[in-house]
């Protein structure tokens, strides 16, 4: 794995972990029951993708996937501004999903060309699962594409797609506090 691939995999893993957490925030409070189910399932998939990517990266560094996922400080994450925002607004959530899936498909297509079979194989597996997320995003895009609040959300969020990977908002810090609370409450060396 070369340095550029490792950087790219970490960005994707962090995006998927953080977006998975954000998606899970809709469990139980989505505007439709079917979307409670959908967002919960999408969240589970995204965190599964993050886990598989962290495992590849952690092995190279001689640490565990959990250590890589949770034992960094918030400023060390390489997720984008788009995924770290706490959105409790349906139009923006759907707009984020649409923008994210579109961009994610492009970078996965690149990774599928990797000369490292572990990376290209994993990217292909992830891409196949993401097909269902893209269908879901497209369905909502088609439904809302003429709604001014939705098109405004798309325009507002589009610039954040690849922004803020080096510098995060306080919203990521708050999410990190919640995400790592149980882990940090245990003494070092705890056997999970």
């Amino acid at each position: 794995m070369n340095e550029s691939e490792a950087r790219s995999l970490l960005e994707i893993a962090d995006d998927e972990l953080i977006l998975g957490w954000r998606d899970s925030e809709w469990t139980g409070i989505a505007p439709l029951l079917e979307e409670d189910v959908a967002f919960s399932s999408i969240a589970q998939n995204e965190i599964g993708h993050a886990r598989a990517l962290y495992e590849l990266l952690a092995r190279e560094r001689g640490i565990t996937a959990d250590e890589l996922a949770f034992d960094r400080s918030p400023e060390e994450y390489r997720c984008s501004r788009l995924v770290e925002l706490r959105l409790l607004d349906w139009e923006k959530t759907v707009a984020r999903q649409y923008l994210y899936e579109e961009a994610d498909a492009k970078r996965l297509a690149e990774l599928m060309q990797s000369s490292d079979p572990e990376i290209s194989g994993l990217a292909a597996k992830i891409d196949r699962e993401e097909t269902y997320h893209r269908m879901h995003a497209q369905m909502w895009f088609d439904r809302l594409k003429d709604e001014p609040r939705f098109t405004a959300a798309i325009e507002e969020l589009r610039p954040l797609l690849d922004a803020g990977r080096e510098e995060h908002t306080s919203e990521l810090g708050e999410l990190w506090d919640e995400m790592t609370m149980v882990r940090r409450s245990q003494p070092a060396g705890t056997a999970w």
Binding site: E34, V37, A38, S40, S41, I42, Q44, N45, E46, I47, G48, H49, R51, A52, P117, E118, G121, L122, A124, K125, I126, D127, R128, E129, T131, Y132, M135, H136, Q138, M139
Partner: protein, 161 residues
């Protein structure tokens, strides 16, 4: 000394943790079994990477192999070489009998929303194709929700992956 056949037989007794009517062998997720000097290496692929049953399956396999008197090594393969096409014919029949429509074959191109919304999917209860997509997602990552307009019954469709 444990043999490859004994390992396959033991693994065939492990039910899928979330759809217990079907075994891990019928589900086709066990990719390879290798036996060498008293240790057994099993390679398997989760249906979806976020499958919450992954650890349960891994532990169940390790336990069965230890019971055969061998040391297990369970390897998770996370590439795209597994597909739902590997579910055995018996496995597909068991799914149908318990109310899960088996997955459609994986085609050269990825499935589309138009395909999922079409009514070619057969109801596992009454056999009608007058069915519609309710939700791409379901109670686990590997399932979608459909509704049969003929017998008025919701059912779960195994996703093609």
């Amino acid at each position: 000394m444990v043999t490859t056949e004994q390992v396959w037989e033991a693994l065939a007794e492990i039910p899928d943790p979330e759809i217990p009517v079907i075994s891990l062998v019928d589900l086709g997720v066990i990719r390879d079994v290798g036996v060498e000097n008293g240790s057994v290496r099993v390679e398997f692929t989760p249906t979806f990477l976020g499958c919450p049953a992954l650890e349960v399956m891994r532990d169940a396999m390790a336990e069965r192999i230890r019971a055969l008197g061998a040391e297990p090594e369970i390897v998770v393969r996370t590439d795209d070489s597994w597909s739902t096409d590997r579910i055995t014919p018996q496995g597909r029949e068991k799914l149908r009998e318990s109310g899960f429509a088996p997955p459609a074959p994986r085609e050269a191109s990825a499935p589309t929303l138009v395909q999922l919304q079409s009514n070619v999917f057969r109801c596992p209860y009454c056999g009608s194709t007058d069915t519609r997509l309710e939700n791409i997602f379901g109670p686990t990552p590997c399932r979608s929700l459909r509704y049969c307009s003929s017998c008025k019954q919701p059912f779960e469709q195994f996703k093609t992956i």
